[in-house]
């Protein structure tokens, strides 16, 4: 049986993309899988009694070494902010390519804590900073220094000791450009080095909290229980900075979604499900429920989604327990069709992630297809005709072409880069100044404009002639020829409309990172948790692929 790939007009809507969950394809899981056999080491741990100083952690295999350099600094309470406008953080980090020399560490000591206003070199790969969850960190120090373990209930409500507020890579602030490292097999998956940084930062937070507690009360202090450590992750505060990324990297977006869709297609096409695979699917599904019941958020928007997800999942579990027989042919296809009929978007996408769990043979080859050589698709095929381009638009943007952008609500917002922090922002076009400096992120509106302009041009004309008179539409002409080859490269929604929920764009990206427990703090920023439940570096040799659900 041949199953069709799902329709991009449905899947690429923002509400659907904002319902995606982590899966085996997620980058933090594929990172751990890739690096589980590498030699982990804490190379330097030079902190004072309060936990301030330098530490270095590394992963090594043969001649290749990646080293995380951590700088923990004292900051005042009123200086601690997760917002991008902050200038000081509890700790700052960089991932260095190789073993750093003393000279490297001295150089980086002056630059890394400055973050965006510091300068890195081609020897550094990623850059980040993080703030303590002061309440949790202090509670853990207090408990450990008194010889007792901290309150697990309190810890599980937050889920981490530190949260990062940005992770940079790919040439930002002088970091190494991707072309320098892209041929390394161990980083074929996207964002692998960003994931490595966050993972090693997590270990630093445990080592630091133990060290501070020990210095506070050397005779009585105990270390944080390893099982408690494993159940803590690293938090992350994310704002709009992430949203334009998925618009600005269409082929990369396509490759992420295509891998997911291809995985689903192949699973639905399996004729006979082995009993161990159906059992694993059911086990992961049931065990994963605790990730939902422990998902805390004050956001009404998210609470509603969680309630709907839990409700749908309970109905679904009841269905597969009582009314479903996995021995029938194409059982996962039947499950999928049942979900489409009976469940909301959150639940459909959640169960799809679970379906992937038993199938390494399908998922592993797809992981290596999730990067993109974007420059290959940059040139516009200017010998194509106006008619061909119009046909592409009608075929690939059919819903977009129906939007009336003369209506105020469909043209309400504009994206811009703030002068203060050079970060993307969204504002009301009719209330705020600056829409003349709008970023090219209103793709739906510009595609519609392109279609209208093409309609008054001769069908047989070639695109070079059209562009000579319509250079303002060049960016969307390029995109249209990209979507012709990459069906999932475009969000099929209006990114400037009154009803846009920007966190849907963030959640899409964060789900591919492997984040859990999305906690929207407004419609424009959210907190998440990464690596919660993941094996600690010392435990990687006994790596369990399904750690997310343990």
């Amino acid at each position: 049986m041949q199953v069709k790939l799902r329709d991009p007009n449905v899947i690429m809507k923002l509400s659907r993309l904002g319902s995606f969950h982590q899966s085996k394809l997620s980058f933090l899981r594929s990172f751990l899988k890739e690096f589980k056999d590498w030699e982990y080491k804490r190379d330097l741990f030079n902190l004072d009694e309060f936990g301030y100083g330098v530490a270095v952690y590394s992963f090594k295999k043969k001649d290749r070494v990646y080293s995380l350099i951590c700088f923990a600094n004292k900051i005042e309470e009123n200086e601690r902010s997760d917002r991008v406008i902050a200038t000081k953080w509890d700790a700052a980090f960089t991932l260095h390519d190789g073993v750093p020399t003393k000279k490297d560490i001295e150089r980086l000591r002056n630059e890394v804590p400055k973050q965006e206003v510091g300068r890195l070199s081609y020897k550094e790969l990623t850059l980040s900073r993080a703030n303590k969850s002061v309440r949790i960190f202090n509670h853990v120090v207090e408990s450990l220094s008194n010889g007792i373990q901290p309150d697990i209930n309190l810890l599980s409500k937050v889920g981490y000791l530190y949260r990062t507020t940005a992770v940079y890579g790919s040439g930002k602030f002088g970091l190494a450009d991707r072309f320098r490292i892209k041929n390394r097999e161990e980083i074929y998956g996207p964002f692998r080095l960003e994931m490595m940084l966050v993972y090693l930062v997590r270990q630093f937070t445990f080592d630091q909290v133990n060290y501070v507690a020990k210095n506070k009360n050397p005779k009585k202090a105990v270390n944080l229980d390893l099982e408690i450590c494993r159940n803590l992750g690293i938090g992350n505060s994310t704002g709009l900075g992430m949203a334009p990324f998925i618009v600005n990297h269409p082929t990369l977006l396509n490759n992420w979604i295509y891998a997911r869709e291809m995985a689903l297609k192949k699973i639905r096409e399996i004729k006979n499900i082995k009993i161990e695979n159906s059992n694993l699917f059911k086990l992961c599904l049931k065990k994963s429920i605790k990730n939902i019941t422990s998902w805390n958020t004050e956001s009404e928007y998210q609470q509603k989604k969680i309630r709907s997800l839990l409700n749908d999942l309970n109905i679904f579990i009841n269905f597969i327990e009582k009314n479903f027989n996995f021995s029938k042919e194409f059982a996962f296809n039947e499950i999928y069709l049942w979900l489409e009929k009976n469940s909301g978007e959150e639940c459909i996408e959640y169960v799809i992630s679970m379906m992937m769990e038993p199938y390494d043979s399908i998922i592993n080859p797809l992981i290596n297809t999730m990067s993109s050589e974007e420059e290959k698709y940059f040139n516009i095929p200017t010998d194509r005709t106006v008619l061909e381009l119009k046909t592409i638009l009608e075929d690939k943007y059919s819903k977009i072409l129906n939007i009336d952008f003369l209506k105020k609500e469909n043209n309400q917002n504009f994206w811009f880069i703030s002068k203060n922090k050079e970060e993307p922002r969204l504002a009301d076009r009719f209330m705020e100044n600056g829409s003349e400096l709008e970023q090219p992120l209103a793709i739906a509106r510009d595609i519609k404009k392109l279609y209208d302009s093409l309609s008054v041009f001769k069908n047989s004309s070639t695109i070079d002639k059209f562009l000579a008179n319509n250079s303002d539409l060049r960016h969307v002409v390029r995109r249209a020829f990209i979507i012709e080859k990459f069906p999932y490269s475009e969000i099929q929604d209006n990114t400037i409309g009154q009803s846009i929920v920007p966190i849907d764009m963030l959640r899409l990206k964060l789900s591919f990172f492997g984040a859990l427990k999305f906690d929207p703090r407004s419609d424009k920023w959210l907190r998440i948790c990464m690596f919660q439940g993941a094996p600690l570096p010392e435990q990687l040799k006994n790596y369990d692929d399904h750690w997310v659900y343990n």
């Binding site: 040439g171 930002k172 002088g174 450009d177 200017t382 562009l467 539409l473 060049r474 390029r478």
Partner: protein, 203 residues
Amino acid sequence: MKSLSEIETISKRSSRAAGFSWGIAEEVGKNIKMLELFGLSGIKNLNYYFRIRNKKNFKKLHLINNENKISKIEFCPIIAGLSFLDQVRSLEILNEIKFEKIAYPLLFLPFVSRASEVIGKKLELKIDNRIFLLNYNNSIYSNSLNEGIVEIGNSISIKFKENQDSFEENEWKELYKLSENTFVEESDSSKEGGAGAGITDND
């Protein structure tokens, strides 16, 4: 040192700020990154070009002919380059294209380099006494590197180089004969069984 990613981003944004559309600004970003990667002065030339662009109303060349002349003000290197790139598939029949007066011609060069990749032919770009051989956008061979700012190209030509060997047939044969010394003379039995398939494959 600035990364190529930073160079691309700043070139793109500054081009937009200078008045180009986002689509053209994207092209300029890629081009300046390419120039800097090949060791040519992209940032310097772009910066100087933008400094005087508002004072001088450079001529926009939208349609490329075999001879492109201008009497007073120079052609804008970005619009001329973009037109060349967009129209290159229909221009290659001309064999050679000439331009007079292109401002900051190093900014024109990357478009020609990319055009070389588009049509799969090497292009020879002459800017006055400077010669650049553009090899499918993979490399640039030139008698003129690291010149810094070039304010004007008075006489510019582009030649389409046919895909042909750079050596004589007898030179090829000589090397081929030498390479044969890595081959093994086959016995009768290995002729029958060595390649895997049988002598007759009429099944």
